[in-house]
Subunit: 192 residues, 6 copies
């Protein structure tokens, strides 16, 4: 029922809900190798039940206002998504993240979707700080953080065990005033 | 993050979530008399806690795919909404409903929003039957059912106790083939 | 511990509880073809676990006062039952239903049991409206509604998917004053 | 809907359910002093909410088959009850108990009701052992145990704190073969 | 992180938590025959899942302050344990119990561990009565009760079904003043 | 029942459980100003109910193996504590923390307690990484991290809203090999 254009190439951001588990699984099957190189999502979503459980967990986060999940569709095909893995309204903080299947890489889809998401977090919800955690070996993810104008705040050493290896996790973040300044929004102005 | 235009007058359908409880309550306060004339919603939403609980109940229904709730905004103000009070995907049935504050009445907003909602129910979700229950004294609601091309299937006598009086409940419904025929969609074609 | 006579032929209405799952399943196995022709109960109760789960669901409804289930025994054999599928004390409404294995059909057992049940709903619990939903193809069930003095209020078209076919659902109901008038109970008199 | 006669004086055993909380509270108010002398029930049921909670707890025990509660009515007035405080079907054991308001004392109502209850426990449910715990100062309760043919198995010293004093708890019990022998039921015969 | 010496032979009492399920299962495997002769524990803990579930149940009892479980280690090997199967702080009562693998029998480990446990129950927690239930055929367990200075209060006849046979259950108990007198603690003195 | 010495001055680490809520609250009342300067704990524990709820939350974390809480007693008085705010056994990570009332400051109690805690996390539980988060204005807490041999990995800017001000959060951490090297434990050796 809802779709927000991500630009001139027909890509869209849409809600991604539990009833779409089959579509989500088919997408993950296409992107499993690529998506799974640096993050656990691909391994966690391996059949219809686990796909439904994953989407259900995020629907429950939405209901309790502690997280969100949205899909990116390109030419009518689900090709990736962005999410708020955690969201603490009282503390004014959230952690954003993303995934993409390889056929859709290289077009800036994630960056465009994240701009929408962070606009919502900062301007609509009034949170103060959006984090981005990425493996230090995940160059594309780090490039997104940089393009979003985030600051590299530190490296959590050997933090993330993935497929048998512990990798460092870089912590990037952008603060609301920084976001507004970069977007050209005068401070103090908050829309809905 | 999401908004679907309801027409040229700037009205929009948007998600309506628990974090919007204050906005929802203010809207209900404006429309309490009007909304409450025929349905229990106005009485159920009387302070911030009950507003949040109502929205949370529908967020939980969305998570379990058993209901939905969307708001109608006009010039940036929440003025009403449409909902799926129940939704039984296995049985292929749903019950739709609506509410509106008086300032927004007379413009066909509900009918327009319901068309979007039923399109989604029928074309995207593939349900077979959408019901509409209204007090036999609620002429505007019955007029919506008629405008949506629904058929009056019966009257549940003295079914609904509201503010001390039991009223009859009219049952209207539209079936998927009827909906598609009226919308000019060739049968057998289902989009997303 | 409890049994209420249904007449001179030794038939009785008794509580039907989760610990009786084996007896319930054996009964359902005898009546599966007959019971399952029009309603989902027979398909839902197909082994000991599902029999226990079904009875447990109704025991939970009894605990929360939102439904009831009773069995009909004939010569010591469980042959059918009546139930309140839903019960909304605040709204003053309930939906009654029944099932029977074929060996016990044709003796008016269901009608007798329903009279006891509706007497309780109307006279003891003070509800105002008792509904009865039946497939328009389920002639015996509709005959019961008629014998109970119910009024046919409408037909929910293609409402009920059962074994691959969608059937119409007839809605019948009796209101408390009607029930009392037919039973010869002066209005305003309510026993326990 | 159900009532089992306790004898020629019109006393009856009936289900006692959460919706009867008002009637239960009124009864407890009449018997508070008397009932509360030796057991905690009177103190636990002090207003409508606690009455409902108590009855709900036993309805939940019935649903999970771990306890039961029944009321005794005399001339249409609730005057007491019997219960299975615990019930362990796998272990074949249960603990029975009772309470009575003073107006109904001295007529053997509890003994008669307990006979029905233990018959059900032993003959219908097939449990092996029924316990009865009573304060050593609660002569009427101990007299019931004796009249039921139970054996005094021990005394739990200073076991039960009640209104500021710790009292001894006598443990009485009857085994299924003893119960059947005393009732004249040939061993090996079990009805429903 | 915690260990309390049980004497000069290096035996220790330690917390026993869900994460130790593997160690607990290996211990139970070694002692299965011996432990299972009189109590259900050995049959209940038969694989890793059931071992974890058993320990988790006691961790939940600790969280709600309704039970406790501790392990006995000898030379670094888990060889048995003591527990509070139930604990009712408001009533001032608890039921203690134990188990041991055969290699550790005959050294008084259980008695020593129980002394620590009952000291905590009586002196730290201020409970009044500690029960000990044992099969009348479980001579070692009864010997422990006797060594702990408990009094035999009764025999629950044919109370405990175990591996196809119903055995009598002896009830032993010690009261706080008795415990203190036997331990040489002046009444009225309570430490932490 | 359990206490581990923290050194020659009589200080001890002990379990801290929900039943100790009164003692915990009294301690927090003594240290409220001091404890509350940098962390939310003091504000969260303001009466008996909130004290019990806080301890209960950690008892539940212990039961699910996702956190731990221990108290520090000095001369029999609860003066502070250490905790694992989070613990992810599958990921091999945990976040440690602490608090202290002012009377006990300056004696190295926290450092000593943390050494015990991290030894358990690393050597007994086999986790790989222990984090320490502290406000950049909380010099004593940062000093502890440094004394524990942790490395400063980054600064989460304006991360923590406390009493109306957002402060930076420093992230420190120690990895298992580093911990063992500093403690003189040969790598590859893991005790219990």
């Amino acid at each position: 029922m809802f779709a927000t254009s991500l630009g001139d190439d027909g890509a869209e951001l849409r809600p991604l809900e539990p009833w779409q588990a089959e579509e989500f699984l088919a997408h993950m099957d296409r992107g499993r190798e690529f998506v799974g190189e640096h993050i656990a999502l691909a391994d966690a979503v391996h059949d219809l039940d686990s796909a439904r459980a994953f989407l259900r967990a995020y629907a429950d986060k939405a209901a309790s206002d502690t997280g969100r999940l949205y899909g990116i569709w390109s030419d009518g095909t689900l090709v990736g998504g962005v999410l708020l893995r955690t969201m603490d309204v009282a503390a004014g903080t959230a952690e954003a993240g993303c995934w993409l299947e390889p056929s859709a890489a290289g077009r800036g889809l994630i960056t465009r979707a994240c701009r929408l998401l962070i606009d919502w977090v900062v301007e609509v919800r009034g949170l103060h700080r959006v984090e981005w955690l990425a493996s230090s070996e995940n160059a594309p993810s780090i490039a997104v953080a940089r393009r979003l104008g985030m600051t590299r705040e530190g490296v959590l050493r050997e933090n993330y065990p993935h497929r048998g290896v512990r990798t460092d996790t870089e912590v990037w973040a952008v603060l609301a005033p920084e976001w507004r300044a970069a977007r050209g929004v005068p401070s103090g102005v908050r829309g809905a």
